[in-house]
Symmetry: C2
Subunit: 314 residues, 2 copies
């Protein structure tokens, strides 16, 4: 199966829910036992942070891999710690894939020409070093990308990745308060984000899977359900990646607006609500720091159940 | 001197030209002696690529540091090789600063809230690990950023960086053929890129230097000189970072449109035309692979001279 949309739909069907686990570690929010162990071994260094991130992520992935179909590490939280942080990112992607999850590299890259090709190789892999061991970059299953520079800057990701079963998620309507500054401006009778939707449709038409969806997805925030509904109609064959669930205020009902009538076509991400569930009720009381991974597993199950209920009651 | 605009103007005055050297290494285009030495030591691995990039960049920086005020490594070409590539990026930034050049981290990052803060810390540094050695991230002087997600997503870079004398360059009008897809759409009587110009002005007003320019710059491609002229008037206090010179077709006359009448307010980037000058005439004949760094130095001087002539003859 070499089409990203087909691979994603299959993974969602197999796990029975559309939850994406956001792997966005923050050193000061990790369980104390992980921070202490890393600092004992490596002092107050970026190496210690990277080792703590890896220990945290691996335990989380062990706990959620049979529940959630997809995970999405946000590279900024790793990039903050330079090359050591990026090493932790690299190993996280590899570990998640080995545990049978699809991985969306949330890097929101965007650049022109040969630079876009380099980003595509970095995140969607598949090129290798001639005559070498073939392992370069992060080799995720999909990458989030920024459309501001134009459609010609998105094509390289498909040239590099689509045949290898990789996909992209184009920022269309984001979940933050200021997302309207440019995205909502009206041009030729419709908002900019609908112009981006047209680019998504045009690029996606060339990499449609047998499931009827295509490998060019769209990032559509759960915090704007009315716009999500309109965009769902405007991009009937695109897979939506829905951020903003939970900590940013989006509910299961809000997220449901991103799904097609057949219940397919979207994955919903939660980061803090899952990976730091041990800090929040009801999990803080019942699980606590020592059982952070079990708390994440329970929170993932609860989110899956909430989304499935919201989808069933539409 | 703790304002980015003041630091940049001072650097341009001191070196007597506005040239930015783009450090965009490609393994297959490096001088054979560097590739061979790295592969002898490390095999066909990402480590070998990283070591070759570093040797190349250090020799280039040694050759151009007393000529050009600014350099701009494009992170995609390093990210392509995972954590080893990022280590080469990290060391390149450090080496360039030690040689007295300002460094623009060309990463075109863009994300929301705490994620934007993480990118800001990654590229503009200044936060450190509490109680630790203080060295996290890349600690460049400025970062290129993408405005699509809105003004609230750009503010964190200024919160983290402006007081430490760091700046940002916001993508306004880019140099690629498809840049018009979204940037040129008309909304409320003007193109989207002019709406971005207003965001630049608004953010910049809060971090103006004593030179009269401010620390929120704009990326404006040399390939669209007519739009550059209009944007120069729309953003009189912004520093323009001008890509597209040379290999992408922009000339010294085109680039001159980005400067203010007083000859200040822009830096012009060339990458391939400088770092791979040894592969092109007239340098291929006179210098060749063995003297790649000297060829880069000559090409930098020629570009500086061409820009200064174009500015003088306006």
């Amino acid at each position: 199966m070499s089409n990203f949309a087909d691979r994603l739909v299959e993974a969602v069907r197999k796990k029975g829910n559309p939850v994406c686990v956001g792997l966005d570690p923050r050193f000061d929010l990790l369980p104390a036992q992980l921070r202490d162990a890393a600092e004992r071994a490596h002092g107050k260094t970026t190496r210690a942070v990277a080792e703590a991130f890896l220990a945290f992520n691996k335990a989380l992935l062990d706990a959620v891999a049979d529940v959630a179909p997809v995970c999405k590490p946000q590279i900024a939280f790793y990039e903050e710690f330079g090359s050591e942080g990026i090493r932790a990112y690299e190993e996280t992607v590899r570990y998640a894939k080995a545990r049978g999850m699809l991985v969306i590299s949330d890097a929101k890259r965007g650049d022109i020409g040969t630079t876009a090709v380099a980003y595509a190789r970095a995140h969607l892999g598949g090129m290798g070093i001639e005559g070498g061991d073939g392992t370069i970059g992060f080799d995720a299953d999909a990458l989030t990308v920024n459309p501001y520079m134009g459609a010609d800057t998105l094509q390289p990701y498909l040239d590099v990745g689509a045949k290898a079963g990789k996909g992209i998620f184009v920022l269309v309507k984001t979940s933050n308060p200021g997302s309207g500054d440019l995205q909502d401006l009206q041009a030729n009778g419709k908002p900019i984000y609908e112009h981006v939707a047209e680019i998504v449709n045009k690029l996606g038409a060339k990499c449609r899977g047998s499931c009827g969806l295509h490998s060019v997805g769209a990032v559509v925030g759960a915090t704007y359900p009315e716009q999500a509904r309109r965009l769902r109609e405007a991009m009937p064959e695109a897979i939506f990646l829905v951020p903003g669930y939970g900590a940013q205020g989006g509910t299961a009902q809000d997220a449901a607006a991103a799904f097609r009538p057949d219940g397919l076509g979207a994955v919903v991400n939660a980061s803090r609500g899952i990976i730091f569930a041990f800090r929040q009720e009801p999990y803080a009381a019942s699980h606590g720091e020592a059982k952070f991974a079990e708390a994440a597993r329970e929170a993932t199950k609860a989110m899956a159940s909430g989304l499935n209920q919201a989808l069933a009651s539409r």
